[in-house]
Amino acid sequence: MLIKPLLDAGTAARNMAEKEARYAPQEALIESNRCLFCFDAPCIMACPTGIDIPSFIKKIANGNPTGSARTILTANVLGASCARVCPTEVLCEGACVVLDLEGDPVKIGRLQRYATDYVFEHQIDVLQAPAKKNGKKVAILGAGPAGLGCAAELAQLGYDTTVFDKKKEGGGLNTYGIAYYKMPPKISLDEVKMIERLGVKFQYGVEIGKDLTMPELEKNYDAIFLALGLGGANRLGIPGEDLPEVVDALEFIEWIHTKPLHEVPVGRRVAVLGCGNTAIDAVSQSKRLGADVATIIYRRGEDDMPAYGFEYELAKNDGATFHFHTIPTEVLAENGHVKALRLAKTETRDGKVQIIPGSEWTEEFDLVLKAVGQEKQSSAFEKLFPSLKLDRKGRVEHNPETMATSVPKLFVGGDCANGGREVVNAVAEGKKAARGINALLTKQNVTGPVQPSRYGAKDGALGSGFNHPIRVPELLAAMNS
């Protein structure tokens, strides 16, 4: 590759620093006192992991950050990373009633970060696994958010739990695939260490099907949790796609997380293909690492982009530029390296994107980042688990309550089950699967929803379990897609 690092260490570190400072104790006190302490609060129901948000905020207000972190981490073991990467605007904070009262919700994410940072910084373990294990063994395939969510829950239930991952460290996309300014990898790695202290074993550098076969797993473990996420970036299907400077956006983000920031190569002129949240992460980080130009190229319009509105705003503030209704038709090379993109304008007819004939032009780029979605692992899964049923979108079919798959003893969660959603959804599914596994191995029913509701205590009034009463249209759309 011809591209090189562009910034010195100091500038790179400054540009990539966490976008919001941690609350000082007094800031946390003031912010936490804005919470009304709603009864059966909408924010709880908007959280896929059902964190008792008013309680953890009240504990901050009462000077009990340890108890606050206990409330958070009991419900969501990755509470520290979710505090940073959750789209709170469309989850808890979007449901906060103070938003309606004052036009500005309680900053739940930042308060959650305050409490969880407190226990990590003071090395306080708020979660505990039973001293005596229950004698049952569970294998977890994938050390990403779903795998970690499942492992932590199982460890607390007394299971002997082992997590396998092909990478060198745990955390999955939390460690390798989140924009650095949202969360440096240390946060995710600290979470992995906390889960290790619960007694969970981690084996890295293990590729399932190669280093570890399914028959071995089935023989040695009472249950298996499949959380291998998604595959590589989708193919563009255009000439020049295999040039060295055409890179999967997630791979580019991984460089940022595995190299010193001032050693991350970046183009002077970066094209990012696609306009989802990963595209935003890629374009913003390109700018922050010194690219002169970083441009999103998206075949549809501004109103169609899958990225959240607040992500779009962030990218614009970082100086990213946007070519809407534009599609690349060819990556042009010079001496075997990316030189430019051949682009064309598009229009949408009857829902289909079409190239406008004669609209083509050429624009110089030296790095092209693909953020056009990740492939499903359909073919890999077919090889590993011949009897595993997938839906027509390539997602692993599962029971939504227990996360059990069509293969006995095999449970699933995270992106390979949901097709690619938020970290918090993956943790919630991991937690659900742990309860499903526990139900299977103890021959008991799964009790209660993952999201607790205090309604219905009286006369069974309305019962519980109205999950996700989200009133933010973009999230509803995302959930239904």
Partner: protein, 436 residues
Amino acid sequence: MADLSINFAGVKSPNPFWIASGPPSNTAYQSHRAFEAGWGGIVWKTIGDPIVNVSSRYSALNLGGQRMVGFNNIELISDRSPETNFREIKEVKDRWPNHAVIASLMVDTRERWHEFVKRSADCGADGIELNFGCPHGMCERGMGSAVGQNPDVAETIVGWVMEAAEIPVIVKLTPNITNVVYAARAAKRAGADAISLINTINSITNVNLDTLTPEPSVRGLSSHGGYCGPAVKPIALNMVQSCAADPEVGLPISGIGGIGNWRDAAEFLALGSLSLQVCTAVMHYGFRIVEDMNEGLSDYLDSKGYKSVADFSGAAVKSLSDWQYLDLNYKRVARIDYDKCIGCNLCYISCEDGAHQCIDLVDSAPYGLGPGRVPGKPVPKVREEDCVGCNLCSIVCPVDDCITMVEIETGREKFSWNDYQARLAKGEMQPIPAHP
């Protein structure tokens, strides 16, 4: 424009706002600043035989991030000499002849009281306030609240003062007493011209949970202090009204206790005060707060058609009575405005766990979706037939005017506890059945 000037038992002041005896009224310098800012009067920090103060004197109750909701001090009376204080009072009076300057005094023997009363008049003070309320430091020496807590002793000492007094005498009452009215009556019997209340309330604001020492800490040891600030306003209002309503007291009242703005001031006036004294709010924000006090009170009096402070003073005294005169046939219920409800459901849980279980959570469909109320989440609904009208839900509701207490016409005539007991005694009715 309403006339804000007052004549308080002969003490004239351009407005009813006085700096209460305390740290802000310690020096001529502060008095000049207070009058320049717009205060009408100043009650000098209590003059007596010089004392020695400790270092570390104040502490506060903070609540939910709000500073100084309550305030506590273990500072004593003036630590400056009587000569200095009287000289500076004269200097202030010379410069501000139309403003009220009151000398607060605290000494022990009859002779000393006579001497200090005379020196106060000689230096030009408009009046004298007797500090019978200080709850710390001085009471152990037989002064301050040790006097105020014993109406007989108070009466004797006021008598001594009146023997020598040529200017109006105000007796400052302590709240650290079972019924403040007895102390007020004692002041009246002894011939005092007015009373002022309340002084500070015995307090410990907090304990440092690391050192296990309360603040203010003096080398690891604290002492019982005097409590004041916004948190004491309800206690002060109760005592002011009690004295104002008592037919035996009948003295002008200078209201003190948690006054921080014109609204507080108007409430103290409405319950029978004529002048108002402020200390803690000035200690928090400085003398400048008086601008809004004068402006707000003036606008309020104008808006309600009152011609003067005196015209308004006591306007709400008669709106309180003893409980047995209240109407048992009056009924109000809570009504929720679903266009305003944000769905916090605090009304539900407060009623359910903390009051009378009269709010249900019901299907939201008939009520639509308001701000904050989401599909599937139930809404609170008041069972009006069971609602006792306690007000709790309307108090906890964070949205203005969302839950209102609405009067329900019962069609029954006024019927008090006294009426009830009278009719029971005459055998005209059966006892009302107890609540199930």
